[in-house]
Amino acid sequence: MQHQYWVTKETVFRKLGKKEDAYIVASDAELDAKLELFRSIQDSCLDLQRIIDKYQERICLLAQEENSMGRFLKECGKQDKTGAGNMMLGVGRTMSHSGQQRLALRMPLLRLFQEVETFRHRAIEDTWKTVQAMEKSRTEYRASLSWMKDISQELDPDTYKQLEKFRKVQDHVKMTKARFDRYKLDCLQKIDLLAAARCNMFSHALITYHNTMLQFATASAQAFTTVGDSFKDYQRFEFNHVKELSEIKPEENSTNDQEQDDK
C-alpha cells in the first residue's frame, strides 16, 4: 500500500519531532490547547495523590508527637506538686487529646486519595485511550495530506491518469480526515468532561475534609483557650536563659489585646 509509505514517514517525523507544516499545526491549535489541559490534569492528579499520601503520613507523625508530648507533660505534672505541675497536667491532657483528634483528619484525606485514585484509573485512563486513538488518526491524516501535497506538484486535470490518481488520494484524505475529525471531537468533549468531573470530585471530597478540619481546629483552639484561662491567676515565670520566651509581659499582653479590640 502506497499510503503506508506516507504513514511510516509521518510517524518517524513526529517521533523525531521534525518541524511540521505550520498551517496544519495552526489548524489543530484548539485541539492541542485541550491536550495541554489534559496533560495538566493527568500530572496534577498524580502529584496530588503523592502529596495527599505524604500529608496524611505527616499528620499521623504529628499526632503521635503531640500525644507523646502530652503524656510526658502529664508524667512531669504528677511529680510536681506546685502550680507548675498543675499547669503541665492541664496542658498535657489537652495536648494528648488534640493529638488524638487530629487523626480524624486522615479519614477525609484517605477518601480523597481513593477518589483521586479512581479518577486516575477510570476517567483519565479512558480519556488517555481516546487521546491515543486520536493521535494515531492524526498521524494518518497528516500522512495523507503529505501524500496529497506530493501528488499535487504535477497535476493536470486534463490528463486522465493523473486525475484518476489524484481522486484516489483525495478519497483517502477524505476518509482519514473524517476519522480524525471524529476523534478530535471525541477528545475535545472528553477532556471538557474530565475537567468538569475533577471539579465535581474535589467539591465533594474536599467538603468533608474542610468540615473535619474546621471542627478539629475549633475544638482544640477552644480546649487550649480553656486551659490557658484556668492559669490566669498563676504567677509568671521570669525567663533568664531563653529570653525570647519572656517577650510577652503581662502589660504588653493587655495592650496587645486592646489594640486588637480597637481594630
Binding site: 498551517y23 496544519i24 489548524s27 495530506l145 499535487s152 506538484q153 497535476l155 486534463d158 486525475l163
Partner: protein, 212 residues
C-alpha cells in the same frame, strides 16, 4: 469541441465563502445549500466566447481550510486568472485577504489577473463588509472587483467572463507569452493564434482530451 485558448483559473479564499458554489453556479447553473468541504482541489470547465473565439476555462476550485494551505499553493502554478473570494457576511474572511493576496502573488506568475469577489450579496441583512470597502481594497491592490451571489447567480457569469476578457486583452497587448504554459494559457488544438507566429509543430503538444 475545439477551443482557441485554454485559461487556467484558480479560486481561492477562506473556507465557506462560497468558492465551490460559485463554480457550480457557473458550470451547472445550480446552487448547493449545504457546505460540502473541498478536499484539496476540485475541477470545473466551461466554454465561453470572447471576440468570436472559443475559450475553455479550466477552473481549479481550491480548499480554503487552513490545513490544506501548503497543498493548494502548488495549484497557483501556471494560473492565468484567480478569483479571490470573501464572504460579505463574515468580516474575518475580508480581513484575511491580504494573506491570500501575498500567497497568490508569491506562488503565481506576476501577470496573473486577479478578480476580487465579495460573495453572498443576497444576504444583505447580514452584511458585515460594505461594498465600498471591497472597492477600496481592490483599487489599492490593483484588482478587479465585483459582488456576487452564488445563490441567485447575480454577477457570477460576469465575474468569470470579465476575468477572461482581461486575460484576453493582456494577450492582445502581448503581455502574456502564450508559448509559455507557465502563464496558464494554452493554445487550442486546431487554432493558430492570430497575433503570434507559432511554429507548426508546437500545436501537437496541446491537450486533446478534456476531463470535465
Amino acid at each position: 469541441m475545439s477551443y482557441a485558448y485554454l485559461f487556467k483559473y484558480i479560486i481561492i479564499g477562506d473556507t465557506g465563502v462560497g468558492k465551490s458554489c460559485l463554480l457550480l453556479q457557473f458550470t451547472d447553473k445550480r446552487f448547493q445549500p449545504v457546505h460540502d468541504l473541498t478536499i484539496g482541489v476540485e475541477f470545473g470547465a466551461r466554454m465561453i466566447t470572447i471576440d468570436n473565439k472559443l475559450i475553455k476555462l479550466q477552473i481549479w476550485d481550491t480548499a480554503g481550510q487552513e490545513a490544506f494551505r501548503s497543498i493548494t499553493r502548488s495549484y497557483y502554478r501556471g494560473a492565468a486568472g484567480a478569483l479571490l473570494v470573501y464572504d460579505i457576511t463574515r468580516r474575518e474572511t475580508f480581513n484575511h485577504l491580504t494573506t491570500w493576496l501575498e500567497d497568490a502573488r508569491q506562488h503565481s506568475n506576476s501577470n496573473m489577473v486577479i478578480m476580487l469577489i465579495g460573495n453572498k450579496s443576497d444576504l444583505e441583512s447580514r452584511r458585515e463588509v460594505k461594498k465600498e470597502e471591497g472597492d477600496a481594497f481592490a483599487r489599492e491592490h490593483g484588482l478587479i472587483f465585483m459582488e456576487t451571489s452564488a445563490r441567485t447567480a447575480a454577477n457570477v457569469e460576469e465575474a468569470f467572463i470579465n476575468t477572461a476578457k482581461e486575460i484576453y486583452e493582456k494577450i492582445q497587448e502581448g503581455v502574456f507569452d502564450i508559448n509559455n504554459e507557465a502563464n496558464g494559457i494554452k493554445i487550442g488544438p486546431q487554432h493558430s493564434p492570430s497575433n503570434a507566429s507559432l511554429p507548426p509543430g508546437s500545436q501537437s503538444s496541446s491537450p486533446s482530451s478534456g476531463c470535465c
